[in-house]
């Protein structure tokens, strides 16, 4: 059974002329990694806010782990979802890293013994245990996002939503947090929904949903979607380096692979091709 089931969801902001999310329907199976992509203003973030009940839909339904999202059930539903937001600086409350991770559990009246154990587990999971007594403000962007992730993991969610969680990080911080999430997902069989315009983050997904003007316009595997080459820009994604290179080589009349290959496979293909010259 799908862990997230969204059907005919529509939401329009009071001042605007068109719905930000327009009749959207999709399912996510437990343990899947699904990326939602779209350019700035396409409706991605509105969709995320609807999923965790920060906004209430005008029409349509959301079922999370078998529970229909309503005003009455919103607190229960949020128990199953952890969300990491875009700006690491906007989500810290604790004076130390450990305090910050404990905050979500304090809200849930978890006992002190359990809390201490889970703070340690969560910080170990994201590789930030040695920073437990540090001030969150003094960490690098990537470290801050790992602490935010630990705070989420401490309450053991089934679903992890990443709302452009890597977009403010430098390339190193970005790969750092993505690797951590990948490991956690495998270990805990998490369902991951990542809202992103980062090509490397999208490439991690089992499938990608493309949203434009509040509607889903395409659903594909990363492999299939990256075949679009320069059209990916309009979808809010960058063109993968290997696709750019293939396009430029083809323009010079060079023999190129028929389908999208990632960098490693393209390098293999090219050196084999060279041997036939």
């Amino acid at each position: 059974m799908a862990i997230i089931s969204v059907s005919n969801l529509t939401y329009q902001y009071a001042q605007s002329e068109a719905p930000a999310v327009n009749d959207v329907t999709f399912d996510v199976e437990a343990g899947d990694w699904v990326a939602i992509v779209g350019h700035n203003g396409s409706g991605k973030s509105t969709l995320a806010k609807l999923l965790i009940g920060i906004l209430a839909a005008d029409s349509g339904t959301i079922d999370i782990a078998g529970t229909r999202l309503t005003e009455a059930s919103v607190w229960d539903v949020r128990e199953t979802i952890g969300m990491v937001f875009q700006n690491p600086d906007n989500q810290f409350v604790g004076a130390t890293v450990a305090d910050d991770v404990a905050f979500g559990m304090e809200n849930r009246h978890v006992s002190r013994d359990v809390m201490i154990r889970r703070v340690k587990e969560a910080l170990l999971q994201v590789g930030m245990w040695e920073f437990r007594d540090r001030e969150p403000a003094r960490l690098s962007g990537g470290q801050k996002q790992r602490v935010a992730l630990a705070g989420v993991m401490a309450v053991a969610p089934k679903i992890l939503i990443l709302d452009e969680a890597t977009s403010m990080l430098d390339p190193e911080g970005r790969s750092d947090i993505l690797n951590t999430i990948k490991t956690l997902k495998q270990k805990l069989n998490l369902t991951v929904l990542s809202i992103t315009h980062d090509i490397d983050e999208a490439a991690q997904a089992d499938r990608i949903l493309v949203i434009d003007d509040g509607r889903f316009i395409e659903e594909a595997t990363p492999q299939a979607l990256f075949e679009h080459g320069s059209d990916l820009i309009a979808m809010g994604l960058d063109v993968p380096f290997s696709a750019k290179l293939t396009e430029l080589l083809a323009q010079r009349g060079v023999a190129v692979p028929a389908h999208y290959l990632d960098e490693g496979s393209l390098a293999d293909w090219l050196w084999k091709s060279r041997l036939t010259k």
Binding site: D170, P171, E172
Partner: protein, 291 residues
Amino acid sequence: MEISFDKVGFWYQPGTPFAFQALKDVSLTIPSGQFTAVIGHTGSGKSTLIQHLNALLKPTTGRVLIGDRTIDAKTSNKHLKPLRKTVGIVFQFPENQLFEETVLKDIAFGPQNFGVTSQAATEMAQQAAKQVGLADELLTRSPFELSGGQMRRVAIAGVLALRPDVLVLDEPTAGLDPRGRRDVMTLVTKLQREQQMTIVLITHQMDDVARYAQNVVVMAKGAVVKQGTPQTVFSDANWLADHQLALPSAAEFAAQLSQHGFHFDPLPLTEEALVAQLAPQLPLKGGQHNE
């Protein structure tokens, strides 16, 4: 306008237990009319460096030459205001500083602060809005109704409205989608090429450094550890790895291909340069030979 640093040292909170040296013996030149990129790890002193470019910070030791002005520890805080107009700084996430009721008023706020009449400020704002490609119908909207990319452009226009000679940008594309990133970089290069504006860009995007910069300054632990053209700076992969800096994607891929018998000289830094050297080493489509 040229800016140069002569043995600049800078301490935060000097003489206190929290004293911290953020710049160490920094000497460098930012050539007039050129595009200079400043790269380095988080905490390497990049942001402290750029605040010296218009005397928001004054060196603790050494001096900074900004055009014909000399700034050192003894420089009075009076009469620094003209420098803030000549050297405009766009800080990180500048859209956080938007505050006015309309886009136009927000952009005109800077010139008005420098004593320009309200009408002239409005005209300067309109021109700056055009430069950054903001459509006229957006000018009467609240800046808070705009998308992230549009807000970023409003903030940049606010600095451009002062008509600076030098434009300094601290990670201007962070948090934007790929289209927004490309728009901002196109705008910045256009200002440099068409108006000979001096550009200083702090960035983590090595592909942008390779594509747009003429000079690169590499900072580490408060010191300048390398200065030169992108070709010079990116030529030593081991040195870069030691300083936790990445190669541009094209150079990285070329290095990978070199291990499989391909040959590149010089190391290509952009996709175009890579393809120019790579194509002759590959067979043509349909099995023809490429000689």
